[in-house]
Each structure stands twice: as C-alpha cells, then as structure tokens.
Symmetry: C2
Subunit: 698 residues, 2 copies
C-alpha cells in the first residue's frame, strides 16, 4: 500500500492522481495472489530467469544460438533448477506442480531455453519416467537429469502430427534375437520437428507401432540410442536431417530422424502400460487398445500445461511494457493545450490494451487452476480416470486460448508501440516469433478444441441419455438451463436471464456476476445441445457418412469448445475475486473481470441476439458499458501490470525503463524554457488565425 | 482452359473431379485480369523477382543481410528496374502507375529489397522529385537514380511518428550567411527508424520546422549531406545510432540521426511549395499552412499505395502455398476408409483459407483501382484537389486493411500447415516477420483509419448541412438511405433491405448483390450518421472538451472507417465481376465475392441485428450459407490460387512443390502393397472389435 500512496502524491508521475474515494490496488497482495500456490518456486525461477547468462542473445546465427542454449541447459542443471519432477531417490523431489511452475517462468529468459529444457526433461525424461519402469529409471534418468544424455522425444512424423495413432514407424519384435526392429517404411514416416535431433540428441524415446507375432498393438515408446557419445555420429541404421531455420526458437536444433531396421534390446520397450515377453507375447494392464493409447499419451499432458503458463507469462511481459510506454508516450495534442495526450488516454488504445489485460488475468487464474489440477493428478492425490480425463480436457481447452492470446497480445502491444515496438530491443517481435509455434505444437490448437468438443458432446449425451431427443430438437436451446453439462466447467444456471427493462437497468444487469455467468453458460450449453441434436444418430451411420455429418458441423463444434474454454477462464477469474481480501483490489479486479465477461459477450453478441438471449435494446448497451469500464480501469492500469511482479531484468525492453518519460520531460522543459525566454518563433498558423479573427471583427 | 480440362481427367490429381455441369475457372484469363492495367510491367518485375540474385538469403546476420540487400539495389539499377517514375529527361519514363506496379512485385523476392528500394527511390528520390524544383532534380536525381547517392527520408522522430506536423527538428534561416541551420533540440527529436541511416546514407531529405524572421512556417523538406562519400563518416555536426535488429526487414540499415547546428545552403530547401529568399522572406503558392503541409505530404502517398499492393502479393503467395499443401496433405481418417482426408476437405480448414482467399481477391481488385487512381493523379490526367483528396482517403482506407490482412493470412496459412508452416523453408514465418511493420509504417493503420473517419464525417456534414440534426438524432439510422455519404465509395442505396420471408428466401436474398450492397452501405452510412450526430457541435466546444467528446467516440469512428474500407473492397470485387467475360470464371468469382460479402455481414452480424437490419431468423441463415459457399468453392480452390500466376521461383516453399503428394502417394502405395502381399500385421483393435461382435452374436 505504501507504494500506491507514494505514487498518488507524486503529481509528476505519469499515473493519474486518483481521487480520495477511488479504490486502490494493493500491488503486493495482488502480486502474491497471482504467484499462486507455488509462489516460492516461481520466485526462485524468476531470480534465475533474471540472470544474464540465461537471456536470449539476439542476432546470433542459429548455430551460435543453439550452442548458447545448450550451455544454458547445463547452467540449469548446475543450479538445480530442473529436477523437481524426478524421483527423490534419484535426486529429484517428486513435485510435479512445482516443476511446471518453475519451468514455465523460464520463458522470460529465452523461449528457446524453456522449450529445449522442456524437450530434455519434460518430454524425453518424462517419457522415460512415466512410460518406463524402475529399471529404465535407474539406467537412463540420471544421465537425462544431468544432461549426460541429451535426448529426443521422437513422436511426430512428417506425415503425422496431431494424429499420433497413425504414425508409421514400426517396432517389430524378433523373438529369435529378443530384439525390436525399429524401422521407417517410407519418407512420410521420418520423425520430424524433433528437438535435439539435428545435433545434440544421443538418445531418444521413439514412438512406433508395436508389432509382435503378426499383430499390431498400437503405438508404444522405445528407448533408442541415436548417436555415438564420443563422435556424435549417428549409429548404424540411423539417419537424419536438420530442420534448419524456423520462425523462432532457433536455439533448438530441431531435425528429422529415420531408422533402417535398427535393432534394440527387448527391454528397451518402455513397458509400464504394455510389455512383450521373450517369446513375443504381448500383455498390458489396459485391455482396450484405445484406452491404453490415451493413457500413455495422457502422461504427457504436462507439455500443454506448461505452454499454457508460459503463454500467460509472455502476455504479462508484453502488457507491462506496452502499458508502461502508453502512460509516458504522448501523441497529438488537444490543440489549445501545450501538452500532447498520453497514448493510454485514448479510448481505442485503452480498448486495445485493457481488453487484453483482462484476458491475461483470466488466463492466469485459469492456468493456476489447471496447474493445481495437474498436481492433484500427478501427485496421486486425486488421480482417478475421471480426474485424468478432466485434466486432459481442461488442458486441451485452456492451452489453445492462452497461446493464441499470447500471439494476439504480443502483436497488439507491438503495434501499440509503433515503430519502437518493431525493434528487437523492445522484445515484442522476438517473443512473438518464438511463441508462434506454441499454437500448433504439443497439440494443434484447432485439434485440441475438437477434443474438447468431443468431450462436451459425450457429456451432453450422458446427461440427456433418457430425454426424448425429438422433443428437444426444436427448442433445445431453451432447455439446457438448470443442467450441468460439463462437470469441470459448467455450472447449473438457475434462471434464464430476464431481459427486459431500461438501458440503465440493463447495464446493471450485465455487470451483475450471475447475469454474466448465465449468459456465458447458456451459450455453451445451447451450442453443445444444438450440435448434439444435429449429430444425434450420426454414430449409427456408415462411417463415411457419419464423418460427413460431423464435418458439416465442425466449425460450430470448435466454436462451442472455445466458448466452453472462455467460460472456464471467466469462472477462474470469478473464483479469484472470492479469494481477494483487499476491498480496493477486489473492486478494481471486479471491473477487470466485468470487462472480460462483457468483451466475451460483445464478441458473440450476434449469437445472443439471434437466439433471443438479449434484446436489441440491451445489446446496444454493451459497447457503451465496456467503454465506461475502460475509463474506470485507466487509473489502475499501471498497478495491474506491476502486480505481475516482473523486473527490468525480465522485461529487458528499452521502452519499459521510463526512458520515454525522460525524453518527453526534456522536450516539455525545452519548450517551456523557450516560451519563458521569449525566443520561441511565432507560429504562422496562429498568426493567420488571429488575422482572420481580427478581419471578422473589424 | 486446356490445363483445366487436363486436370479434370487426371483422377489421381489432388483436385477433385468436377461434374460435367460444374463451372470451370479460366485460369489464364483470370490471371490476366488480376495482373491489371500494368500487366506487362508486372510480368517483367516478376521475371526479375524470380532470379536467385534477388532472393532473400535466410539465416544471415543482419550485417550480412544489409550487404546483400544493398548489392541487390545495384542489381536493380543495372537491370533498369527502378527508374520508371523519374523524368524522361533524366532517363526515367514519367510513368508513376507502372513504377508502383513493378516495385510492389519485388516483395516476393525479399521484402527488405522492396522496402530498401522504396526508401531510396520511392521516398528519398521521390521527395527530391516532388518537393524539389528543377535545379534540385538536376543536381541530385541522377546520383539517386544510379545509387551513387544512397539516401534517407528523415521525417519520423523518436518522439513523433504519425503526428508529422509536431516534429521538433528545426531549420532556422540565417540571412547573414544565406544558410539554414538544421538542429535537433533534444533527444526526442532525433530522427528514428530511418532506412539507410545506420550505414549507407550519404544524403538525406530532412523534414524540419522552417523558421525564418522569427516565424515558424511549418514542416518543410531540406536536402542535407550526411556522410563523406569516401570515408562514410558523418559530416561535422551530424551523429546517429544504429536501430539494430528489428522484427524483420533486417536487410535495411534503419537508424537514428541528429543534427547540431548543421549549416546547409539556402537553396537546399526543396522549394516547390514554399521558399525563402536571400533576405529570409518566406513565400508559398499555398496560403494556408495546413493545406500546404498536407499538399507536401500528399506527394508521398505512393508509399501507402505500394504497401497495399505488396501486402496483397504476400497474401497471394501464402494462400497459393497453403492451399496447395491442403489439397495434398492427409490427416485423420473416416475410419473405415483406408485413406485419410485431405486437409482442404475439412470444413474448418475451408473456412480458414477460403474466407481469406476471398478477402485477398477483394483486396487485389481494390488495389488495382487505387493504383489507377494514383496514376490518374500523378500523371496529371485527373489531379484536381478533390482527386488528390480522394486518392489519399482511398489509400488511407485500403492500406490498413490489406496490411493487417496480409499478417492475418500469413499467420493462418502458417498455422494451417502445422509444424511445416513454422519452418523457414516454407516462407510464411519469414514473410510475416518482414511484413509486420507494414501495419504501422507509412502511416500507422489506426491513425490512417481515423483520417478516413474524419473525411467521412466531413462529407456527412456537407451532405446534411441543411438538415435539422435534432430530428435526425433519434432515428438517424433509418434516414441515411438514399444519400451518398462518400463520393469515392458509397453508393446510393435505393431501398431498405426487405427483411421478411422464409429462411430459403432469406438465403437467396443474402446472396443477391444488391442486398449485400444495401446491407454493407447502410451500415457505413448509419455508423457515420450516428457518430456525426453524437459529435455535432463538438467543434464549438472548448478544445479540451471537444477532444474529450471525440475520444469517447474514437472506437466507433475507427470501426466506421473500417466498414467503409471494407465496402470499397466489396465494390471493387463487384466491379471486377462485371469485367469478367468467361461465364464459368464469373460464376466461381461470384461465389467468392458472395463469401467475402457474407463474411463481412457475419462479422458484423450483431450490428445488423441490434439495429433491426436483419431479423433473428435471417441472421441465423448466414453461417449456413457461408458453409455452402465453401463447398461450392472447394473444387476451384487450386484454380483460384493458380490464377495469381506465381511460379515456384516466387513461392520457394518446400511444401508448395508437390513434395507432400509424393510422400502421401508413397505411403499409400506401401500400405497397398503390404495388404496385397498379405504381410500386413493384424490390428489388435480390429481383432478385439470382431471378438466383441462375435460374443454379442453368440
């Protein structure tokens, strides 16, 4: 509070003085709330990320950048920063939530570092940990943890990315030698986009179709040595290619791998969920091949969780810089005034930045819930099948929104800073380039949203198992009220939004929490119900026709999944308000939550109108209400980005340092002094204007 | 037509066979129409842009890239590619439209090359040409044209970008020595982001406040020598800084410049629109300082025109690659089928790519109109004040839309190609990085749209000069019908869209050209009228309050300007349909135009509903109608991108070569042969499914 008070009395500050009755944000307390359950781990990780050794060096060739990033991985090992998720017996701490919390903070140092660390410990190491058994852990985890074995997570193929079940690499068991034969049957089956594959990877977890005794048991993971540790040459039968330059993340040596009848011992099968005995008999604790596949892949959800967190962190960095600059930078004048307006006092600028600020808060609170859910499952505290499925659905819902939001925010912030925003010294363009691929890797966002839609449809089908669909078909949109469609997200809606009354009353209703919830929830339920009705019976059609029916509704389904994910963010934001104890902070955060909710409603206003959920009259109040929220939030904008808790060592943007204010003050002082001395030139324009006035008078 | 016919009979082609009654696109004829008035110049420029010497070399350090780009400028000179706009007397051809047409095609080679050429000849050279007089042309143009004098266009300052009128650099006349003293009074007045400033610039056109005899006559342009041609060192009193790495365009040496009482001869004032005699008396052919300023700046509109064209070209390149890939790449299977679906058969994928294809066509046709308008003005054929203002408004309207569209399209295409899209070898990420700054330079897009809004308001005020505003205020949205608000764009709307009837009838109405026009036009008129009413009288308020009133409507004004620009694109597309003679091509293009129009209506559907322009019933048909258009366009997608006329030498994307089809065919053939030989492993999943079926039966 002290800091806030000081600022209020500092009249030269770029922060507008707030009136005595104005609420104030408790920056420190809000900062603590944002740090969440693993606050201490985050603080440690931020301290580390603040060190110059870990910072992205701009302008390197990709060869130099790769070398630097690899060196940084060693630095992380030396600083004990990356072993939290590994078994205590091997020097880790079995702490999955803390591990992700620490890991995602690395994005502020260099996204290449974050992702290369993710490849090594989050994917390669994690696969050995979660898909392997004790002997595998003993043999490989120590070397993976201390980076003696840099390795690859060789799942994706040139021909198959999101559709992992269809990868074409085979692992055929040869009982004669008790070996698996890893083989790439054609070019499309080359492993592709694999981190550590081009240069550093000595080992790999290779995903392949397990074939034994003439039967294909589906995708399994195999440990394969790739390169000679001394010469770094590929071992016999293994080849590859460098993926070369990428749009970003050039500190990582992505590449391609192919295998020509490469033989590995039977025991290199990571056999936690499926095994082959010496004779070639397959066994698994999970009878259903489909469930087995999803269980194996499910252990890898942490990649999505951490991308969600890293995307939020990058959005925070961008907004802190852009909003700071917008409070200092002046542009265009209200004519008679001698001073130009600061950018942040323009309505459009507020809209551009504050709506994204609100979404960033929503995404941050949602991420904290996701991370806690992840920790519940992986710590074993709550790890039923239902918990795991909920976790996966939640990750699949939130990761697309937060990663797209990060790109959108980085771009809008870069544009809001004009030419300065385009300079690498201000970091927007660099972060944006690096985060670009977050929207398609670890699950393509569009594909993930389809998984969410599938889950929503399944839940819908369960809820309505005994309902006469014929009756529902026509008026289903009015019927969903009162029913929880999705356990992890949707709440029961007690009542339909009463939509009558004067515009003033309408605005009050829209900022009412329950009204926002009802509107947002109703939309998800109705969209799912509508799609569910349209698709009912499709599963009984021949597969080709069923696919065609689904395809005709693909766009709606993806939209429904997105609406669901947005509702989850809104609920997380609303939950966070309940945990906020300082009244001033709570008031301001509530405005921000309202801005988030109303922006969602505005974005989908046509849906609310078309479906009779909002009257024309009320719909017309939404824009104006948003504009009034912008004005309310304006005095608190700096506090809201300060609460993110990042220092200049994390921001590293020339325009986040106050340099613009120094320049503006210098310019203002120059003109003041010039006017005071009487040496200022007369303005031709004003002379002509005076003459014109005089002429009119006489 | 031969090519189309051949493809139809090629059943192994990735292009679906079209039924006999289907229309077909005449690719060659459509290509010719797209090339437009300066087709031959474009062909020459594309032939040049196809040469490896001019291609962007990826992975260079920015130092290397700068050297390469500078060398490419010499190559352009040697190949006579950049002098079309200069006077015939000096070896040019006084052909302004052709100059821009050729220039914008360079973007496919390397955007750095396009923009560095733009700095040298389009800005620096153009300023000397258009703001200088004969003696200036004689002295400097030959060296500028042949690159003996690489130079800068030193307008923007660190403290002032879009607000050029407020730049702080001064040029004070000293009658004693008959010199101007160029001076930078403080840090914010350093010239910034100036191409050629960091390294190559020997000369510069410097924009500064002209002060003589104690009066400031506003911004004027001065020719200033910057560096010693031999040592490349700054001359006395001049300093600077390198802007360093940027988000893209790193082939250009942007930098900062500052001047400490640098003296230049009086005659270095580029004096076409304002002059100072030896005694220091100022004179100008344009009495109003405001009009003088805008006239001087107006000569520089060609930058915006060429960015508009280059943005369209980049969008074409991206779509050609992404759509080609989407017809070859297969992903996920309709289960019982042995072959997976090609991406372009997915509804969402069609929506992502075809809506952007439609917008690209609209932007392309609109650009051709802009370029012809530009040529009309600059050739002198039609260059009244009104023509010039229309040209500027048109450029200010179209450049924001096309440059934002290019970034959006490049990004969507990159995402639509997944991990492959992120590899530099497929160019999306590289082009996107380079084009990023197009949205804020040569006029920040948001600022430009405000200029358009201002013009729309002024026209509105003129039209309604004698109308009682009080009467209008409440129901103004219904009143605008029948009135042309903007000469260059808005057409009279003869009738309000009759909005009754069944959904089927509604869909017919929506695809009707006049209905689309009425809806789009009505929205612009109503938004302008509404804002105009709200702002009426604001100009009579004290300036601070007037500014506050404007600010409260800033967001709406920008939205109105955008709606206006979109309407211009739609009108241009519709005009182009009228010029299309082949019936098949016309049918397909009409679907594409409808997709564009309906997408605009869908995007703003809430407006149409809130304002009673569309009924709930009809609004609900829009999405379905768009989906049906996607299906209709699908068989013609490749033709529509082939018509852009770019070759592999322009695309230079690994996935645009047909390589994916080769890989997919190889994979398919492998599995076919495996099945035929009986050596395919049995699938555990299908065995279990069969067992389950058998168990149920018995």
């Amino acid at each position: 509070m002290t800091e806030v008070a000081d600022r209020r009395t500092d009249t030269t500050s770029s922060r507008p003085a707030t009136a005595g009755t104005q609420p104030a944000v408790d920056v420190a307390a809000l900062g603590e709330q944002l740090l969440g359950k693993w606050a201490d781990v985050r603080r440690q990780a931020r301290e580390l990320a603040a060190r110059p050794e870990l910072h992205k060096a701009e302008g390197l060739t990709h060869t130099e950048h790769r070398q630097r990033t690899f060196g940084q991985l060693r630095y992380l090992v030396d600083n004990n920063a990356v072993h939290r998720a590994f078994p205590a017996a091997l020097g880790g701490s079995d702490d999955h939530g803390a591990n992700i919390a620490g890991f995602e903070e690395l994005v502020t140092a260099d996204p290449s570092l974050q992702i290369k660390a993710g490849v090594q410990w989050g994917l390669f190491g994690s696969a050995v940990l979660h898909l392997g058994t004790e002997e595998h852990h003993r043999r490989w985890l120590p070397g993976i943890m201390n980076l003696d074995i840099p390795g690859c997570f060789a799942m994706t193929e040139t021909g198959h990315g999101s559709d992992v079940a269809s990868i074409a690499t085979t692992a055929t068991y040869d009982a004669g030698t008790q070996e698996f034969v890893i083989h790439t049957p054609f070019r499309a089956a080359w492993k592709d986009y694999i981190g550590n594959a081009a240069l550093d990877g000595l080992g790999a977890v290779v995903f392949a179709q397990l074939i034994t005794r003439g039967m294909n048991h589906g995708v399994h993971a195999f440990y394969v040595d790739l390169r000679d540790p001394d010469t770094k040459e590929f071992l016999a039968g293994i080849g590859g290619e460098d993926d070369g330059l990428k749009g970003g993340l050039n500190g990582i040596d992505n590449g391609r791998l192919h295998f020509s009848n490469v033989r590995i011992p039977r025991t290199n099968l990571l056999n936690r969920y499926g095994d082959v005995d010496a004779e070639g008999n397959y066994s698994s604790s999970i009878a259903s091949p489909g469930r087995r596949f999803f269980t194996m892949l499910g252990t890898l959800v942490q990649g999505r969780v951490s991308l969600d967190g890293a995307a939020v962190a990058a959005s925070k960095i961008a907004l802190k810089t852009a909003i700071t600059y917008a409070t200092e930078r002046r542009q265009f004048t209200s004519s008679s005034l001698t001073e130009e307006e600061v950018l942040l006092d323009y309505q459009r600028h507020q809209r551009r930045l504050f709506t994204r600020l609100a979404t960033t808060y929503a995404a941050a609170f949602a991420h904290e819930q996701l991370l806690q859910k992840f920790d519940d499952v992986f710590s074993g505290a709550h790890d039923t099948d239902a918990d795991r499925q909920d976790l996966e659905t939640l990750a699949a819902a939130l990761k697309p929104l937060s990663t797209w939001h990060a790109l959108d925010t980085l771009q809008e912030c870069r544009e809001a800073c004009g030419g300065a925003g385009f300079l690498i010294e201000n970091r927007f363009a660099s972060l944006r380039a690096d985060l670009d691929v977050y929207v398609t890797f670890e699950g393509d966002n569009t594909v993930l949203l389809q998984l969410v839609a599938k889950r929503l449809l399944a839940d819908y089908a369960n809820e309505f198992r005994n309902v006469n669909f014929g009756v529902l078909a026509r008026y289903v949109v009015n019927q969903a009220a009162g029913t929880a469609v999705h356990r992890t997200g949707l709440r029961g809606v007690a009542q339909f939004v009463a939509d009558t009354g004067l515009p003033q009353k309408a605005a009050i209703a829209l900022r009412d929490e329950e009204s926002q919830r009802a509107l947002l929830t109703d939309r998800v339920q109705s969209m799912v119900a509508e799609a569910g009705t349209a698709l009912r019976g499709a599963s009984k059609l021949p597969q080709k026709e069923a696919a065609a029916v689904f395809n005709r509704h693909q766009n709606e389904l993806i939209d429904a999944a997105q609406a669901h994910a947005e509702l989850l963010q809104w609920e997380a934001f609303t939950d966070a308000l309940g945990q906020c104890t300082d009244p001033g902070t709570k008031t301001v955060l509530t405005w921000l939550r309202d801005l988030f909710g109303l922006s969602l409603i505005e974005k989908n206003l046509s849906w609310y109108l078309m479906n009779g959920r909002l009257s024309m009259q009320r719909a017309r109040t939404v824009g104006g209400y948003i504009n009034r929220l912008l004005v309310k939030i304006r005095p608190h904008a700096l506090d809201l980005v300060d609460s993110f808790g990042y220092t200049q060592d994390h921001l590293r943007a020339a325009i986040a340092t106050g340099a613009e204010k120094v320049r503006q003050d210098e310019a203002r002082d120059f003109y003041r002094a010039q006017r005071a001395s009487g040496s200022a030139p007369v303005d031709e324009k004003s002379v002509l204007a005076r003459k014109a006035r005089d002429a009119r008078r006489s």
